[in-house]
Structures are given as structure tokens and as C-alpha cells.
């Protein structure tokens, strides 16, 4: 328990940030029209691929001969960034589709 409390104190700013971001998140995305549910979901999904930043940092801090960790984290980077790139491209494709209709 003490460890947990000290963790909270050490990361005080991060915890505050966490709380505010949750509020911000709800504020930013509430009231989405149903036309945009699918693009929003796939766009948000792409953003969740942000875990790959962790993978990059991990790869960069690992000793060059620690192949297990290097291998694991580059696989993580690989699958995670398929999610990122694929997600953004496909969201873009969907939204272009909506836009095209509006002009004509």
C-alpha cells in the first residue's frame, strides 16, 4: 500500500493530467452525429496505436545484443503501426467518400 501511495505522489502531475484528459476526452467527442460513428471509431482506433511510441523508446534503450527484447518490441512496433497507418488511411478513405457526395 505504501508503495502505491508513493507511486501516486511521485507521479502527481501525471495523475492530475490523467483526470483532466478523461474530462477533455468526453468533452471533445460528445455529440457525434451518427453519420460519423464509424469514421470516429476507426480514427480513434488508429490513435490507440500510440503505444508504438513505447515500443520505439524501449527499442532505443535496450542493449544492442538483447535480441529477445529487441525482437518482442519490434514486433509490437510492427503490429501497432499497422493499426496506426491502416487506421488513418482507411478513415481518410471513408471521409473522402462522404465529402465527395457533398460536392456533387
Amino acid at each position: 500500500m505504501n508503495e502505491l501511495i508513493s507511486f501516486l505522489i511521485e507521479n502527481e502531475v501525471l495523475i492530475y493530467l490523467l483526470l483532466f484528459t478523461i474530462l477533455l476526452g468526453f468533452e471533445v467527442i460528445s455529440k457525434v452525429p451518427s453519420v460519423l460513428h464509424t469514421p470516429l471509431m476507426s480514427g480513434a482506433n488508429a490513435i490507440s496505436g500510440i503505444v508504438i511510441l513505447g515500443a520505439i523508446i524501449l527499442i532505443r534503450t535496450t542493449e544492442s545484443d538483447n535480441y529477445l527484447i529487441l525482437f518482442l518490441s519490434s514486433i509490437a512496433l510492427f503490429v501497432g503501426s499497422i493499426n496506426v497507418f491502416g487506421g488513418f488511411f482507411v478513415t481518410n478513405r471513408m471521409l473522402e467518400m462522404f465529402n465527395k457526395k457533398k460536392k456533387s
Binding site: 478523461i22 468526453f26 467527442i29 460528445s30 451518427s34 482506433n45 524501449l58 510492427f78
Partner: protein, 458 residues
């Protein structure tokens, strides 16, 4: 330098997502968010790190490979397969988080002197949620892809098994926290994987939109948790935003069905569905395609109500064709979209957009219910529960209270359906027996094709 990049990227992600909640700016929003993401990746690559080893090749190779693969998938995927794709991408995100947490935890096994209780706890949590999101998404993918799978699948005493599984994970985590051993880690992952499968297994059919958005928010939460571990604010922010987006969509979907999240997760309408047989069914009347065509042709206003049946039959293009024929004859054609029609949030909108249907033709629930009053024919294509009048006037129906499309306010209704079988909720639909309703049986695509050629002959 990298601090500025991270700041810019955080700003772009938030602003991009904000723009994505409005149709006119959504496309710009997505582009901004993707620029933000690229900035963040770039910043992570250049940021100075203590004890940095130049393993740049390990970063560049997977990154470039996956960008090509991601692009190719995104370019070639059919719009009808969108729910599957969203869930498989989501699974990949979850899997990435699992691998990452595993790699981090592994470091503590190798170097026990760095052991930090709270960090390990957060990592295990991230490992667990990521695993559930991973196998859950894979199962959701399988269910969406193979039509037969979408039957809900419940083991006897499923809930007890699920609770036991969670207890096992907690127990294993406790052991691991006491003594960091790799065996515990493997077991935690294994049990979490199994839990993910059991979590999604009983949910199916019309509840799929809820599940997909819920899994989406899970991946967001894992991303945020790993962000805490790496002390990276952009990861935290991005993860929370996704978590919030997923949660909002989940709540929206649940509200649209007038059910609680718990009720959806526990699975199905099973508990209160006994009233289904109480109806005196009465007679239904069928309509021939020539009558149907004539009726549509001489209407002033037609509203089409698409449902999952339209998506399964991939009938959206032929639907648009009929719309065009009718519009040439000055018939006002609109589409009424129920929030949970289809298998993911907004499913119908994407399908119809693919078929080039102008989105000003798509109307939402409230507006549709106004417009039915001045409608000549409401055509229901492969939808059932969302047009069930029991939801309004039969308090013993499991659907009671769900906001639905009041199609029966129009002069007449035609239901296109494959058979008389009940919808996902397992209840009969009294709409079918109403006097001004006609049935037109068959696969949605074939039916519409026949109808279309009839219309062209008129």
C-alpha cells in the same frame, strides 16, 4: 526539440479528434490527427535518451514495412468489411500493448533489483486489458466475418466461469508481485486471452456495435497505462482520448437499445423474452414485385429503412439504383437510419456512402419519426427489431422502451425479409401483421434487383 514535437502532436491529436465530430471538418480532423501521430513517432525516434543504444534499424524496418502493409489493407478493403477491419486493427493495437508490457515485465525478471511494485502493477493491468482486447477483437472479427458465428454462444454458468477467470488473474498477479517469475507471466497472459474469448462469446447480433466500441476503448486504456509507465504524456493523452471515444460510443449504442451495458455484456435478451408467443399472430399478406413497383412508382415520398439484412446481402448499390429510378419520377426518397442498425456504430451510413447515396438523404431517428407521417411507403430492408411496435405499446416485450422507427405512421409499409423468423431479440414483430403492411420475401439483393427491373419497365 522533441518536447516541442510532443506538445504539437498532443495538440494536433486533440484538435483533430475534435474536428472529427463534425461532418464538414471530419476529413481535416483525421489528417491533423495523423500528422500529430507522425510528429510523435518522429519525436520518439530523435528524443535524447540516457544510455541510448543505436538500434535504429530495429525501429525503421518494422515501421516502414507496416506503413506499406497498412496502406495496402486500407486501400483495398471493401466498405462492407469495415466492421471486421476495425476489429482486427483494434486487436493488433491490443496485441502490441501486450507485447510491450510483457517486454517491460521481462526486464524486471532479468533485473530484479529494479523492481518497482506500482510499475509492475500497472504493467500487469495493461497486460490484462490488452490481452482481453486482443482475443476479444479476434473473436469479434470471426463473428463478423463468418455470418453463422454471429449466433450468440453461451456456456452453462458462463458468468461464474468469467468471475473465476478474473479471480485467477488476480491471484496470479499477486504471486507475480511477490516473486517475479516468468511462469506466472505466461499464465496471466494465457488466462487473460481465454477471458477475452469468453467476454465476447455470448455477445452477438445486434449487440456487436456495443462490443466493438467497448473493445476500442479497452485498447485506448491500455495505451494510456503504458503511457504512464513510459512517462510519456502523448501516449497517456492519446490513450485516454480513445478510451473516452470508445466509452461514449458504447454508451450511445446502449442508449439506442435502451439497455444497460451490463445487460449487453451478460448477453442477450434471454431473461425476459417469454412474451414472444403470447401474440395472436393473425395473417400476413405478401406483395408481388409488380404491385410493389407500381406502388413505389406512384408515391410522393418513400423512406427506406435499411438494416443488417442489407449489409449481409450487399444490396446497397442496387438500393441506390432504385432510388435513382424513383427520383426520376419525382419520388422523394430518403433513408431512415437507426443508431444500432448494422453491426457497428454508423454501419449503414458507411455502406450507403459507398453506394454514392448523398448524405443529406440520410435522416436520423427523431427526424425520421416526424417524416413517416407524410410518407406513402416505408420500405424496410433487412431490419426487424428497430421497427417493432412492441417497443412502444407492449410493456411485457423485451424490446419495450427501446427508441424505434415508427414506420407504421406511413400510409403503408413493405418489409423485405428472408423469412418470417424473429429478429435478434427473438421476438415476433406485430408490424408484419398490421393491415397496411405487406411482406416481400427473399434475399435483399435479389429482391431489389427484381424490383429494379420491374421499375425500369414501368
Amino acid at each position: 526539440m522533441e518536447k516541442i514535437l510532443f506538445l504539437a502532436s498532443a495538440y494536433l491529436l486533440v484538435w483533430g479528434l475534435r474536428l472529427q465530430s463534425d461532418p464538414s471538418s471530419a476529413s481535416r480532423g483525421n489528417k491533423l490527427a495523423s500528422i500529430g501521430m507522425i510528429l510523435a513517432i518522429f519525436a520518439a525516434i530523435i528524443m535524447p535518451i540516457e544510455k541510448s543504444n543505436s538500434n535504429l534499424l530495429w525501429v525503421i524496418v518494422p515501421l516502414s514495412l507496416s506503413s506499406i502493409i497498412g496502406y495496402l489493407i486500407a486501400k483495398n478493403i471493401k466498405m462492407t468489411s469495415m466492421p471486421q477491419m476495425v476489429s482486427i486493427f483494434n486487436g493488433l493495437g491490443g496485441f502490441s500493448a501486450v507485447l510491450l508490457s510483457y517486454a517491460e515485465l521481462y526486464k524486471y525478471i532479468v533485473y530484479p533489483e529494479n523492481y518497482d511494485f506500482s510499475v509492475v502493477l500497472v504493467l500487469i493491468l495493461s497486460l490484462f486489458i490488452g490481452s482481453v482486447a486482443f482475443t476479444g477483437s479476434l473473436l469479434a472479427f470471426a463473428k463478423l466475418d463468418g455470418y453463422k458465428w454471429s449466433e450468440k454462444l453461451t456456456l452453462p454458468s458462463q458468468h461464474i466461469i468469467n468471475i473465476i477467470l478474473i479471480c485467477v488473474v488476480i491471484g496470479l498477479s499477486f504471486f507475480f508481485l511477490q516473486k517475479a517469475q516468468i511462469d506466472y507471466l505466461f499464465l496471466i497472459i494465457l488466462v487473460s486471452f481465454i477471458y477475452g474469448v469468453f467476454f465476447v462469446a455470448p455477445i452477438g447480433g445486434a449487440d456487436m456495435p456495443v462490443v466493438i466500441s467497448l473493445l476500442n476503448s479497452f485498447t485506448g486504456i491500455t495505451a494510456a497505462l503504458t503511457g504512464i509507465i513510459f512517462g510519456n504524456i502523448v501516449m497517456l493523452l492519446g490513450g485516454i482520448l480513445v478510451g473516452a471515444a470508445g466509452t461514449i460510443l458504447t454508451i450511445l449504442m446502449c442508449n439506442a437499445m435502451n439497455r444497460s451495458l451490463l445487460n449487453v455484456i451478460v448477453g442477450g435478451f434471454s431473461s425476459s423474452g417469454s412474451s414472444a408467443e403470447n401474440h395472436s399472430h393473425g395473417d400476413i399478406s405478401e406483395i408481388s414485385e409488380s404491385d410493389f413497383a407500381v406502388q413505389l412508382f406512384y408515391s410522393n415520398k418513400v423512406i427506406i429503412v435499411p438494416g443488417y439484412g442489407l449489409a449481409v446481402a450487399q444490396a446497397q448499390k442496387i438500393c441506390k439504383e432504385i432510388q435513382e429510378v424513383l427520383e426520376k419520377n419525382n419520388v422523394d426518397v430518403k433513408y431512415a437510419i437507426h443508431p444500432v442498425a448494422g453491426r457497428m456504430p454508423g454501419h449503414m451510413n458507411v455502406l450507403l456512402a459507398e453506394a454514392d447515396v448523398d448524405y443529406s438523404r440520410l435522416i436520423e431517428l427523431d427526424q425520421a419519426n416526424e417524416e413517416f407521417k407524410s410518407t406513402d411507403v416505408a420500405v424496410i430492408i433487412g431490419a426487424n427489431d428497430v421497427v417493432n411496435p412492441d417497443a412502444i405499446d407492449n410493456s411485457s416485450s423485451p424490446l419495450y422502451g427501446m427508441p424505434i422507427l415508427k414506420v407504421w405512421d406511413s400510409l403503408s409499409t413493405v418489409v423485405l425479409k428472408r423469412s418470417m423468423s424473429a429478429g435478434y431479440a427473438g421476438v415476433q414483430n406485430p408490424l408484419f401483421f398490421k393491415k397496411n403492411n405487406k411482406m416481400y420475401f427473399g434475399d435483399a439483393k435479389e429482391s431489389l434487383q427484381r424490383l429494379s427491373s420491374e421499375l425500369k419497365n414501368l
